[in-house]
C-alpha cells in the first residue's frame, strides 16, 4: 500500500488502490477568534466507506479539523476557515454552498452523548427527519427501527421508545446519538472521541458498531487512544500542533510510520 505525501496538496491521489476519494481538504486552516490556529494548511483525504482515524496529542487540532468537515465552525462568528474542503468534488466552503445542507450530508456524533432530554427515544431518532418535513408515521416508524438497529440499540429499547432519551445509560445514549445521526442517512459520519466518556464494555459495543457501519457510511473518527485507532480504522491521520504530519493506511502507520514525529508519538516518546 502506498502512502501519500501530505505536502503535495493532493492527498487523495495516493489512497490505496480500489479506495475511492469521498472527502478531501486542500490547504485548510482554521483560526480562532483569539488569533491562534486550530489547524494550519491541512490537506487530507477521506476514503469512501472506510474508517479514517484522527490521532495526536491533546490540543493538536483533531476536533478542529473534524468540525471543519461539516462547517460546525460557522456557528462561532469569530472563527475563520480558509482553504477548501470537498465532498464528492463539491467545495463545502464555496460561497453558494448552504451550510445547513452540508450538515445534513455530513452527520456528527460528539464526545459527550447529547440526547435531547425532553424528547422520547423515538423522537430523538426522528429529530433530523422531522426537520426535513418527514412526518408520516409509517416512514418514521421504519426509519426509527432501521436507525436503532443500525446503531445496535433496537433490541434494548424497542419496548420503551416513548421514554425520555435521558433515561438510558451512557453507552446507550451514545448509540442513540449514532442512531439519530444515521436516521437522516448521512454520506459521512464524523465522530469526536465517541467512546471517551464510556466504560470499556460500551466502548467495545461502539467499536463493533463502527465496523458494521462502514458498509454504508464513510466514517471519520477522532480518538485519543491509538489502540482504538488501530482496532477500528482503515486509515490513520496523525496531527501535531495543528498540522497533519502523516496520513497512511492504519496498518502501515503502526508498523512502519513514514515520519519520525509519528514514530515518536506511537512509541510513547511524547503524548
Amino acid at each position: 500500500m502506498d502512502t501519500i505525501n501530505v505536502k503535495d496538496k493532493d492527498a487523495g491521489a495516493t489512497l490505496a488502490a480500489g479506495d475511492e476519494l469521498r472527502m478531501e481538504t486542500v490547504g485548510l486552516s482554521v483560526r480562532y477568534g483569539t488569533g491562534n490556529y486550530g489547524i494550519r494548511d491541512v490537506s487530507m483525504a477521506v476514503a469512501d466507506k472506510r474508517v479514517t482515524a484522527l490521532i495526536g496529542p491533546s490540543g493538536c487540532g483533531k476536533s478542529t479539523f473534524l468540525r471543519s468537515l461539516n462547517r460546525m465552525h460557522d456557528l462561532a462568528p469569530d472563527i475563520t476557515v480558509t482553504g477548501q474542503a470537498f465532498l464528492d468534488g463539491e467545495d463545502l466552503y464555496a460561497p453558494d454552498m448552504d451550510a445547513v445542507l452540508v450538515r445534513r450530508r455530513v452527520g456528527m456524533v460528539f464526545q459527550k452523548p447529547t440526547p435531547f432530554p425532553t424528547k422520547s427515544i423515538y423522537e430523538n431518532v426522528c429529530a433530523g427527519l422531522r426537520l426535513v418535513g418527514v412526518n408520516k408515521k409509517a416512514t418514521l416508524d421504519e426509519a426509527v427501527e432501521r436507525s436503532l438497529r443500525g446503531a445496535a440499540l433496537w433490541d434494548e429499547v424497542k419496548d420503551r421508545l416513548k421514554t425520555p432519551g435521558g433515561s438510558l445509560s451512557g453507552g446507550q445514549q451514545q448509540r442513540l446519538c449514532i442512531a439519530r445521526a444515521l436516521a437522516v442517512e448521512p454520506e459521512v459520519l464524523l465522530m469526536d472521541e465517541p467512546t471517551s466518556s464510556l466504560d470499556p464494555n460500551a466502548t467495545i459495543r461502539i467499536e463493533q458498531l463502527i465496523h458494521e457501519l462502514k458498509e454504508q457510511v464513510t466514517i471519520v473518527i477522532v480518538t485519543h487512544n491509538m489502540h482504538q485507532a488501530a482496532r477500528v480504522s482503515d486509515y490513520t491521520a496523525f496531527f501535531y500542533v495543528g498540522e497533519l504530519v502523516e496520513l497512511s493506511a492504519t496498518k502501515e502507520m503502526f508498523l512502519k510510520p513514514r515520519e519520525k514525529k509519528t514514530e515518536e508519538y506511537l512509541t510513547g516518546f511524547f503524548s
Binding site: 456557528l75 445542507l101 450538515r103 459527550k112 435531547f116 424528547k119 422531522r130 426537520l131 435521558g166 439519530r180
Partner: protein, 324 residues
Amino acid sequence: MGPAQKSAAAALPRAFRGPGDRVFKYAIVGLSSAVVALALVMAVVIYIEARPTFKAFGYLSFLTETTWDPVKSIHGALPFIIGTFVTSFAALALAAIPAIAVAIFTSEYAPKWLAAVINYTVDLLAAIPSVVVGLWAIFNFAPLMRDAVYMPIYLWAEASAPWLATMLGAPSTFNMTTGTIVLALMIVPYTVALSRDAIGQVPRDQREAMWALGATKWEVIRQAVIPYARTGIAAGVLLSLARALGETMALAMLIGNSNRLPFTLFGPAATMPSLIINEFREAVEPLHYSSIMAVGFYLFIITIGINLVTSFVQRKLYMGRGMV
C-alpha cells in the same frame, strides 16, 4: 451542615478547628433560624389579628362574600380576590409572550452589543420604584389611555354593541385595564430576566447536536433551546405571577379602588394589596381592621403557594436533567 463542609473542616489543621468553627456554626444556624422564625411569627400574628373576621364570617364565606362595606360591618374578600387574579393573570398574559420573545432575541439573535443594551435597559426598568411608575401613569398614561383609547371604543360600543358597552363600563381615568397594562410593564423585566437565565442554561452541546442534524437557526431554537429551557421559563413565568399578585403601589394608584362587584374593564376595581394600602389607615372598627388582616393573610397564603409551586417546578427541572 452537609458532609462536604464537614470533610473540608476535617482537612483543616487542628488549630483552625474547635471554638471558631463552633461559633461560626451557631451564628449561621442562629441567623437562619431567626429568618424562618420571623416569617412564621409574622404569619401567626397576622392570623391572630384576623381571627375575629374568620369567627364572624367563616374562613370560606369570607372568601366568597361579595360585599365589602365597613359602614355596615359586612366584609367579603371576593372583589379583591377577583381583582387580584384578573389583573395578575391578564398582566402575565400581556407580558409573557413579548418577554420571552425579548429573551430569545437577546440570547440567540442580537449581536452582543445590542443584547447588552437591551438587557441593561430591561434590568433598569426593574429597578424603577413602582411608586414612580405609578406617578407617571397617573399623570400621563392613564388620562391618555382614557381619552385616546377607552373613550372611542366605549362610544363605538354604546352605539353599535350595547352588550359590549355594559361589559366595558364607562371609562374612568383609573381603571382595571390601565392598572393591568402598567402591571404588565412592571413584570416584563422579571419574565425577561428569568427566561434569559433559563435559555442561558441550555448547554452548548444541545444546540450543536441540533445543528449537526442540519437544523436552521430557528429550528435549533424551536427544537433544542426552547424544549430544554421550557421548565425554567415556566418557573420564571410563575415567579413573575407571584410578583404580580403582590404588586401594591402601582395598582393602588391606578386601579381606581372600587370595592363593589361586578368590575368592568374600563371601570375602577381593587386588588388585595390595593385594598390593604387604601384602608389600613381608616380601620377604626375592630372588625374592619381584622378583615384587612384577613385579606393580608390570604394574600400571604396565595403568594407562598405560588412560590412553593415554582420551587417544585425548578427542582423537577434540575433533577429531571440529572444536573446539579
